[in-house]
Structures are given as structure tokens and as C-alpha cells.
Symmetry: C2
Subunit: 337 residues, 2 copies
């Protein structure tokens, strides 16, 4: 069986760590694994498949002789190094927002639009976490009956801002329990026992970057350039899974039983509905899972063609690392590297 | 100046404590204050205006010779004792859901429908907390231009389930920080670093009681029996303020500047929007405030006549205790007791 030379750029971050774990867990055909990071983060050693590997500072020479680079080191690092890796023969699957909306760059959720991978030019973009979770759930419904409009409110965990943000939430929580003021470094405001609209900058229309990503990326992934979608993105004091309250409008009524049947049989989705016990998707149960959990599917009482549903997914896993690894697996399977 | 004999039924709960504080803070004309609770909770003494008052077990005789009873001891207690108090001459302002939808019982948010108080028959219902916060904000907009449909997702704090639920959240948080399993007593699932759809029972259509309250009570309060409203209610690990992501549809476009102007001048509402610093309403800043904070008002990109907005309000205060005290003040002012 062929093996591949894999680089993880941003190996010391939360997503980088998850990618490393997933490569081992899914027995990805790794021939060589190179752990790369910014000079600031390089120097430590990390475990992989029983071995201890050094984290090296990213450079052109470190990006030579790689088949696949899984990048999750932020937009500016990707903008600088992804083209270098591609020029030297690698395919880069990039977690940042740097290339997502660039024409010619596939933006892929494997359960939704894997065929977009075929004509890549070296860089493939991994979508925004909140968008991935949404598309995995709503696309199968859209295939059955065309979606007219989406209104979504998110409940996003600290992990979306990285490992240090998760530490910050834990530290702030401890501070508050000890009656000390909560100190902030990563987030602009305390997150412990609090929540706030997503702190990415707002445009002139009042939408923050995170919300615009959901709108623009959903359109590109689902191939619906005119999809009507509005979002309110909110950061909540949860460690690592994102949740979303989703209202969907179709052009005709969508029976709840049909939606349940479709989502119960959709790849990457797990239907979690126990109406008797009021048991539905929750972050603590979505954390560490591959599937996006969906439940509370019901006919919208305010719209004859509306459906309401609720979903939770592991932001680090399906929202980032797993989706990227799945893309790599698909490329290998189709021989599209 | 006339003074009034006031009873607080449920004096030992979170809302009861807040009512006691508000009566003092707002210099409510209290002639006599009687603190009442279930036999289980009675016995302790609580402070009011420099005095130490006993909490007595509720009984017919304890409900004699009162002008106003502010009840927040749950539906079954209200169903048993509110009629007794009324029969003996008191006006009962009841925080439970027992009488809210009963024809002839005013369901009042003083900023919205104070005139409904005029024809009360002794019992006045204080609405559900989430509903109060919503109505205070959307009613002024509706007065300018008729609302066609509301899609709302809530972020509800532990306080909505009472003081013991707040203690449970703190205890669970401590347990998790100490790597112990989070134990549950009040909520069915751990709330610390987690969230879940509101745990009130769901009906056959998949709506939980909390969501149905929002639908039915909003209609009654705003006098719009056919208002189209859908809600997804979610409990989040916040101590005492509720937040809501609200999508509004009007019959024609509603300019953002007009909405900002209206809400900037509406009673009980405070416009909190600093787009540069990404500073909008947050639970920690809404806590302890009388006003409902609103911000992130923007044209809905998915609907030509849509507006999105974000609000936070103190669930114990305006969501319960303050609204009840305001009702009492209004009755006194109008001489409608």
C-alpha cells in the first residue's frame, strides 16, 4: 500500500494536535510525518504512533518532498507558505480563511461537494467550522427539496479561537469561582459565565466576519450562489463543540418524518432525538465525535414551509481537523493528489 | 403618602429576594412587608429596610389584610393560594405560568400593555422571563411598522430555574475544574461548560413549554393573536441574564437607523452598540440592570424586509421581579388596586 509524506503546519495548535491524533486513529497511510510550526512554537517534541517527533520551524526546505500539507496556522502563515509548498509539489489542505473564496480553489465538505476536489490546483480550502457543521446537515435536506432561506443562531465554543482560548476560559472560570476578576488575553471580554456576539470585525452592514463566512462559504460549498442565509454568531462558555439553532424555509412543506429519515441516513450526521427524556444534541456529547449531531426537528409553527432543527458538532474535529483529513483521504482514494 | 401592605410569596427564592431588594431600592410605599414561603422554606429571617423579618409559612390567615401579594413560588403554590389572597382583598401579581393564558387575567409588560391592568379581577400575571425581554424590544418596532414574523433563538441562564440551579452551575463548574464528574440535581444534564435545549417538556409538535410560552404570551401581551413566531430555547452556562438572537420580518423594509432611533428612545430599553470595539449586549453587563440591552441591529441580508438584532436582559430583574414591581407601581399610580 502506498504511503504519503505528510506535513502538519501549525502542529502545536488545537487543530494541529487533533490532525495528528486523527492520522493515527484512522490509520492514514503516513510514510513520513513532518511537524511544522512558526519559529515561536517550534522546538518541542510531540508524539505520533509511538514515536517522538520534533516540531520544526516552517521554511521552504522543510516544505520540500511532501505529498500533503495539512495547514492550520492561521491566514498569514498560509498565505506565505501554502504557495511555497504547492510549488514544491505538495497538495495543501488549508484550514485558514486565506483562500476559501478564491475562484479555482475548491472549498470542500466531503459529504457535500467532494467532486469539487477533482480540479484543484494544489490548494484546497477547508471551510469555516460553523459552516461545515451547518452544510453537513442542511445539504441532504436541500437535495430532497430546495432550501429557500436559512436563519441560524450559533453557540460557538472557545476552541474556535484555539487552544489558548480554551485555557483562557478555564482560567477565567477559576478566577470567578475564587471571587477574582476574570482576566482577558485572547477574547476582548470575559467568556466565563458570559457570552457575546462573535468578536470578529463587523462590516458596514453590521455582519461580523464569522457570519459572512457562513453566508459566502455555504453558497460556494452547496453550489447555491444566491442562497439566502442570515446568521447571528455568538461565543459561549463551552470548551469545544459548536451548536446551532437553524430555521429553514422551503418552497413547500417539508414533513418532519421525511427530514428525520433523511438525516438518519445521511453520512456524517447522527440523529439524536429522545423526546420523552428531552435528550437532544449537547456539546459535551458531540465533543470527540466524528458525526454532527442533529435533533429537535420540527415543523416551524410560524411558516407553513419551515423546519426548525438543532445541531451540535465537534468544532476541532468535524469543524476542522477531521474535515481536512477526510479531504486528504478522498484525494488518495480518487488518485487526485 | 399612602402606604401598602405587601406580601411576598416565595420570599426565599431568587425572584423573591430580588423583589425584596427592588421594593427597598425603588422606595416602594411599603407599610407592612410580610415574607411568606412554603412550610419547607419558612423559618429563616431576611433583611428589609434595616429590619430583620421572619419568613412565615403561607396560610389563609397570613394572606389576610394585604393590599398586594407578589407571588413567585411556582404554579402549584399560586394555584392554591392566589385565589385565597384575592378573596381576602389583595391583588396578586403572579410570576408563575398558572394564570397567564386565562381569559380575563391581564398578562402585562408595563412598557407594552399597561392598559390591560385596568380591568383586572384580582390576579395579574407576570409573563415568562424570555417573553418579557423580547416584547419590551420588539413592541416599539411593531408600533412603527407591523411585524409579520419572528424567529428567535435564546441563550437562557441558570437563574431561570431558580437560585438552586445557579448553585448547581457553580458546583458543577468547580467539579469539572477539579476533574470530577459534574453531578446533577436540578437540571437533567450538566450545564457547566455545556448547553442544551430548554428542558421543559415538548409537545407533539416538538415545541417545548418554554417555546410555547414565548409564542402564546407574546401574542397576548402585544394583542396580536395571529403573530407568527418560532423559538428555539436553549439553556447556557450563564448565571443570571438571558440573551436572544432575534430575526424580524416586516411587510416592508425597516431602515436600521429608524430601528436604532426607536429603540434608543424606548422605555426599558438601552441601545448598546459600539461597532468599532465589537461591544454589544452581554449577560455580565445586563445583570443587575433594569433595562433590556439591545444591539447588533442590522438589515437581514436574507430578506428584504428583515431585521436581525441581539438582546440581553436580567432574567431575575426585568424578566421577573422588576416587571412585577412595576406592575404594582402602575396599579398604585392609576389607583387601580
Amino acid at each position: 500500500m502506498a504511503t504519503y509524506r505528510v506535513g502538519i503546519l501549525g502542529a502545536t495548535g488545537a487543530v494541529g494536535a487533533e490532525i495528528r491524533q486523527l492520522l493515527a486513529e484512522r490509520q492514514f497511510p503516513v510514510g513520513e510525518l513532518r511537524l511544522l510550526a512558526s519559529p515561536r512554537s517550534a522546538g518541542q517534541t510531540l508524539a505520533f504512533a509511538g514515536e517522538s517527533l520534533p516540531v520544526r520551524p516552517v521554511s521552504a526546505s522543510e516544505l520540500q518532498n511532501l505529498d500533503i500539507v495539512l495547514a492550520s496556522a492561521g491566514g498569514s502563515v498560509s498565505r506565505e507558505w501554502a504557495p511555497v509548498a504547492v510549488q514544491q509539489g505538495a497538495v495543501v489542505i488549508d484550514n485558514s480563511s486565506a483562500f476559501r473564496l478564491e475562484p479555482g480553489v475548491p472549498l470542500v465538505v466531503p459529504e457535500v461537494n467532494p467532486q469539487a476536489l477533482q480540479n484543484h490546483r494544489g490548494i484546497i480550502a477547508n471551510p469555516n467550522c460553523t459552516t461545515i457543521l451547518l452544510c453537513v446537515v442542511i445539504y441532504p435536506l436541500h437535495q430532497a427539496q430546495s432550501i429557500q432561506r436559512v436563519v441560524v443562531a450559533t453557540y460557538q465554543s472557545a476552541s474556535g479561537a484555539g487552544a489558548r482560548a480554551m485555557q483562557e476560559l478555564l482560567r477565567q472560570t477559576q478566577q470567578i469561582l475564587e471571587n477574582q476578576p476574570a482576566t482577558t488575553e485572547i477574547f476582548p471580554y470575559p467568556l466565563a459565565f458570559n457570552l457575546f456576539p462573535h468578536n470578529s470585525p463587523c462590516n458596514d452592514q453590521g455582519y461580523c466576519q464569522e457570519e459572512l463566512k457562513m453566508i459566502q462559504e455555504s453558497r460556494k460549498i452547496m453550489g447555491l450562489p444566491a442562497l439566502r442565509l442570515t446568521a447571528t454568531c455568538v461565543r459561549v462558555p463551552v470548551l469545544r463543540a459548536h451548536s446551532e439553532a437553524v430555521n429553514l424555509e422551503f418552497s413547500q412543506p417539508f414533513p418532519v418524518a421525511k427530514a428525520q429519515e433523511i438525516l438518519g441516513n445521511s453520512p456524517g450526521v447522527e440523529l439524536v432525538e429522545n423526546w420523552q427524556n428531552n435528550y437532544f444534541p449537547m456539546p459535551i456529547h458531540a465533543s470527540g465525535k466524528d458525526a454532527v449531531l442533529v435533533g429537535r426537528i420540527r415543523q416551524d409553527l410560524s411558516h407553513p414551509c419551515g423546519l426548525d432543527l438543532w445541531l451540535c458538532g465537534d468544532q476541532i474535529r468535524k469543524g476542522a481537523a477531521l474535515n481536512a483529513v477526510q479531504i486528504a483521504e478522498y484525494l488518495i482514494q480518487k488518485n487526485w493528489l
